[in-house]
């Protein structure tokens, strides 16, 4: 029961402090890797959520929740992710016109954005080091992936190809 409450709180916190689905990756990493899931599991979660259709944030929540505490864990993580935006939206639809004049909430979220970008860079670096066993290959795969995405290649395609390269050449 204790672990379920912990999961719920983690996802509640993450969804109150992130501007959008993909932006939650950095904070989620800091909150769960090491203490609840391994780094390899986290990489799987991010990779899979970008491959499967639908909202990344919900899929990350589902994966992490399931890995930690099975199906109840997945449900609790999901509830924690859904609750904050739902309550906020319902609140906004009720006080819609008032909020438009009160800009502090939008300023709060705009202040979050640059910090989240920086946090994600830190997270990317930690995850990158997980590919260490591949030596300079990791740099090659990373750079090629980044260029591919800048050239608008679909992320799911890039991630799958990189995984297949790893499975083929680097399975111990």
């Amino acid at each position: 029961m204790d672990i379920l409450l912990q999961l719920f709180w983690i996802f509640l916190k993450i969804n109150l402090l992130s501007t959008s689905g993909p932006a939650s990756v950095g904070l989620l990493y800091d909150e769960v890797v090491g203490s609840h899931v391994t780094q390899a599991q986290f990489v799987q979660a991010v990779g899979l959520s970008s491959v499967l259709p639908g909202s990344d944030a919900l899929q990350l929540a589902m994966y992490v929740g399931y890995a930690v505490a099975g199906i109840p864990g997945g449900m609790v993580a999901l509830a924690g992710s859904i609750l904050p935006p739902t309550l906020i939206i319902l609140g906004v639809t009720v006080v819609l016109h008032r909020l438009r004049r009160e800009a502090w909430l939008s300023n709060f979220v705009e202040g979050l954005a640059p910090a989240i970008s920086v946090l994600m860079l830190f997270t990317a670096w930690k995850i990158f080091q997980n590919g260490d066993s591949m030596g300079w290959w990791a740099w090659a795969v990373g750079v090629v992936s980044l260029v591919a995405m800048i050239l608008k290649a679909p992320a799911r395609f890039v991630v799958i190809v990189a995984g297949i390269i790893g499975a083929y050449f680097f399975s111990r």
Binding site: N15, L16, L17, S18, T19, S20, G21, P22, L27, E31, A45, V46, G47, L48, L52, P53, G54, S55, A57, L58, M62, Y63, G74, S81, P85, T86, I89, L90, A103, L105, N107, F108, V109, G111, A113, P114, A115, I116, S117, V118, L119, M120, T123, A124, I127, F128, W139, V141, G142, V143, S145, L146, M149, V158, A162, G166, A167, Y168, F169, F170
Partner: protein, 181 residues
């Protein structure tokens, strides 16, 4: 606002479709536009929905779904849109994670994860850049850079990230609040 069953059913159907066919939250916006504008809501309502879901914290796909659902079918509309947006991604993920937990110690999976790591890192860098670009385009000034620099220092000093983010949000309230900067 029409309160009838067919609208709710249509919302549910629409969001199931959008969420099965689109790779991620932000990618669903364009698709959703084609599915809903002119049919169940006006363009103006849609633009307002996108604006609000960018401004409020939390997953934007969900917020967008709720706004569209509300505009088209009131509170029951919110529920059907939400269900449609939640069910496909989470059920899929549940199945895949349940399968994967069995293979955790397999060699090929370790190789797959090792290969995926640099690509996932690149994906995160890419998303982070997109985020930064969007926030810097809205306010091209030193305040964005100041928040970014201070948070980099704070993460470096290993201050827990929720505190750093909270601080950044508060700085946003203080700095962006003064319009005549």
């Amino acid at each position: 606002m029409k309160m009838n069953f067919s609208v709710w059913l249509r919302l549910l159907q629409m969001f199931l479709k959008v969420n099965i066919l689109s790779p991620s939250g932000p990618a669903s916006v364009g698709f959703l536009y084609e599915e809903s504008v002119g049919k169940i809501m006006t363009e103006e309502q849609f633009v307002e929905a996108v604006g609000f879901s960018n401004v409020l914290p939390g997953s934007e796909a969900l917020k967008l779904a709720m706004f569209v659902g509300y505009a088209a079918g009131g509170f029951p509309g919110v529920l059907s849109a939400l269900l449609g947006a939640i069910i496909p991604p989470t059920v899929l993920m549940l199945i895949v994670s349940a399968l994967l937990q069995r293979f955790q110690q397999e060699n090929w999976l370790m190789g797959f994860v090792a290969g995926m790591s640099p690509a996932v890192a690149a994906l995160i860098v890419f998303v982070s850049w997109e985020l930064f670009r969007v926030s810097a385009r809205k306010r091209i000034d030193r305040r964005v850079l100041l928040i970014a620099t201070l948070s980099a220092v704070a993460f470096w000093a290993e201050i827990p990230s929720p505190f750093v983010l909270l601080g950044a949000g508060i700085m946003g309230v203080l700095l962006f609040g003064r319009r005549s900067y």
